[in-house]
């Protein structure tokens, strides 16, 4: 006779909770004294603490290759938080967080480091009960595979008794082949459900709001398709150059650095079908379906659909700036793309024939990330004998940064005797429509990872599909001796990019 399983009561208290608290956690940060930890992770931990969003049993074990003590790490954390926290530094909160911070020194390829870490975590468990383990790899991608396998070797990977997660940050590979290899290496140590790949764009409020806008507003869905949308422009422009990232950037370029991840994610969220549920796998299934329907270009088609550029000298923000090849650490003959514009065709019933234009670049006039949905013009204007002239089509713009919000362009009559019209904007801005600061993307993503919610993280098959879209383009460029078009720093990008849209009166939105 089959034994009845013991029935576990539901937790009745979760119903009324606005912000769930994660279970007891040990957060291990590899690269804890590095730039990412200082600018983003430690301030995110602090702000989660300040918001009462961390459990009482919560420790941070910082791992770095430099000599250091708990005391020094705490001082480093304090300085980082004071400099980078969006809410400043409050003594009360810091006092509760400070004793939770520990430091462990070691080389990421040294097995002893991982044995010592396992002992340290076991001690925490013995002191205050079992905790989930979250490993954040704020290190060069070259270490991802090795660290994952070393963790698994000491029982902190897929076989771990307690819930365990691995957080890694882009780039996920340098090309399709290396991405597949990285996924395979990591998945030999951790289960896919334990791997949280961060694309910090997905933590931004507007990006999350994109799904709410689309799927919680009944008036949008009927027009969100080829019949009503003329084209879509997705732009991520930066006014800055490459700073001190020459070593990384020159081997990556804009296509790998931005298009392969951030813009492909924005594209898939903009164009995907409605998920039946708002859970991690259902949403990611829809994103993958969309990415699979993106047309792959042949080598011969690439020049017709993709433009690459590289910034020359110019003026940005009132300052004279050097050409990319004159930046420190960049080879004079570099052919790296600092600008990419591409036309994406989505071959499915919803979008066939409606192009998506993706554009990113450095040293453009200003920093802006936005999704602009250009609707088709009205089929017939009934103002034939008036002075109305040409009427601009409706446009919806979702602004991701710097001012998170959305706007809808309508056309309205200018008050007066004559029938003159003017476009007017209906806008909402997060800063004025909702109280309080939006949490930093890293706060949201870290909190989600602590709760085990993978909705805003990228799955292995998404990463691979993204690479499959851009790999033919990279291959063509590799074989092409022409190199990128040079554009003046502070300009709108290379004129060649305008040709991509030069049909039916299309033009890029001004940056």
């Amino acid at each position: 006779m089959e034994a009845f399983a013991e029935s576990l009561p539901e937790n009745p208290f979760v119903e009324d909770i606005e912000e769930e608290l994660p279970p007891p956690t040990s957060l291990v940060i590899f690269g804890a004294t590095g730039d990412l930890a200082a600018r983003k992770l430690l301030p995110a931990v602090y702000n989660l603490r300040r918001g009462g969003l961390l459990p009482e049993k919560f420790d941070v074990v910082g791992i770095g290759r430099r000599e250091g003590s708990d005391e020094q790490f705490r001082r480093h954390a304090l300085e980082s938080i004071a400099e980078h926290s969006r809410t400043g530094l409050e003594d009360d909160t810091w006092k509760t967080l400070e004793p939770k911070l520990e430091f462990l020194r070691g080389n990421f390829d040294d097995p002893k480091l991982f044995e010592e870490l396992a002992e340290r975590l076991a001690r925490h468990d013995a002191d205050g009960g079992p905790r989930q383990r979250v490993f954040y790899l704020a290190v060069s991608p070259a270490f991802f595979g090795g660290i994952a396998q070393s963790l698994a070797a000491v029982g902190l990977g897929a076989e771990a008794d307690d819930p365990t997660r691995l957080m890694i940050e882009k780039p996920f590979g340098h090309d399709l082949e290396s991405a597949l290899a990285l996924n395979e290496e990591i998945s030999s140590a951790f289960d896919e459900s334990q791997i949280f790949r961060i694309d910090h764009y997905l933590g931004k409020e507007t990006v999350q709001n994109l799904q709410v806008m689309r799927f919680a507003n009944g008036i949008l869905e009927p027009v969100w398709n080829r019949r009503y949308v003329e084209h879509v422009q997705i732009t991520m422009a930066e006014d800055i150059g490459i700073g001190r990232r020459a070593a990384y950037y020159d081997s990556a370029g804009a296509m790998r650095d931005v298009i392969q991840n951030h813009l492909m994610q924005l594209l898939s969220l903009t164009a995907m079908e409605a998920p039946v549920r708002f859970d991690a796998d259902t949403i990611r299934d829809e994103k993958v379906k969309l990415l699979r329907s993106v047309r792959r270009y042949t080598a011969a088609e690439v020049p017709d659909y993709v433009v690459r550029g590289q910034y020359g000298a110019g003026w940005v923000g009132g300052e004279e700036v050097p050409a990319y090849v004159d930046e420190e650490g960049v080879p004079k003959d570099s052919m790296t793309d600092t600008y990419v514009a591409m036309r994406v065709e989505v071959d499915n019933w919803r979008w066939a024939g409606t192009p998506f234009y993706l554009r990113c670049g450095k040293r453009l006039p200003r920093r802006v990330t936005e999704i602009a949905v250009q609707f088709r013009p009205v089929p017939h204007l009934p103002f034939a004998r008036s002075d109305i002239g040409e009427v601009e089509a409706n446009e919806m713009v979702l602004s991701v940064q710097p001012d998170e919000g959305a706007s809808l362009r309508l056309v309205a009559k200018i008050p007066g005797q004559a029938m003159y019209v003017r476009p007017v904007q209906m806008e909402f801005k997060y800063g004025t429509s909702f109280l309080g600061d939006s949490p930093e993307a890293y706060e949201r993503l870290l909190h989600d990872a602590l709760l085990g919610d993978a909705t805003l993280f990228t799955r292995a098959d998404e990463v691979e599909e993204e690479w499959r879209i851009i790999q033919p383009i990279l291959d063509r460029w590799q074989a092409d001796a022409t190199g990128p078009a040079i554009y003046e720093a502070g300009s709108q990008g290379p004129p060649e990019a305008d040709q991509l849209l030069a049909v039916r009166g299309r033009h890029w939105r001004q940056i």
Binding site: L21, P23, R50, D92
Partner: protein
Amino acid sequence: MSPPTQEAPLGREYPERTLWVGEGVTAADISSELDRLHRAAGGPDRVLALARTLNLIVVPCPDRREAGVGQALDRLGSHTPSRTLVLREHGEDRVDATVLMECAAPNAAGEVGLCHDRVLLTMDPDRLDHSSSLLAPLLVSDLPTVLWLPAPGAEIPDRGLLERAQYLLVDSGPGGEPALGKLAELAAEIRVHDLAWGRLEYWRAATAAAFNPPEQRRLLPAIGTVKLSYEPLGLAAGLLLAGWISARAGWQPGPLERSNGTARARAVRPDGGEVSIELTEGGDGGGCGGVDALTFEGDAGEIDVTRGGATSSMRDLFAEALQPQPAFSRGYSPAVAAAARMLGP
């Protein structure tokens, strides 16, 4: 009727205020003055848009609370610009009105400044009893209407106001326990946003997290005692939290009995077992939202829900409560009903 009075600037957020005072006025007089003041505030060289996100009706409150009401309304600022209608009582057989137009003028050419208004309506008790009829034409159509009780136990002068409002705003703590019974009745007929409830958000999340691990959850059906320590003047907060725990766990609490500084209520679990809910006044300053410790005890173990990472700094719950559909109202109605049962008749 008095002519409009131009006041001196009162600070950066509202650099300009225009005032009109009228005696023996009607709703039509007030409407036309609101329009006139707005037109007068703007001009050919600057654009001032009327910004309104809700109608806020403030019911009369004791004199000692009036200064606090004024400060809160000033603080609302341009974040929640509203058509604010403040009700007061006087002994004259008429309605007097003070209309205040507050404008943040544009700083530069091309910018649009924002204006919003506040109307103080003073009337005799008879008119106050029918004040919803006066307010109806003054409410801006299609905006949510919030009814604010600055004193949680204050009488709502006209039941018609409840019908006009989408939700009720109160603060039952500190020292607000006498009002819990009345709030329980109101919560049965209108959505109530109680700031004291918002302050307990951490404790609710921490309680939920404490019972998330399966081994802890197994203890729940056999909990025998809940001990809750509250800050001085925090009994209402303690009762609300205890009420929420009871409501969520399906316990039926009885009235409190007080002895030796502890208030105890006996509650009946769904299996018929008994739970002792004990509320004790603790020290000052160590708590969060009025509560400083919470413990669940059963035969098989004990669960401490500590203040943990929660800090004493609270976001502006008053302003948040005036946002459309503030999140922190969930679960309030059964919680305050259980708290009221513990307080007894």
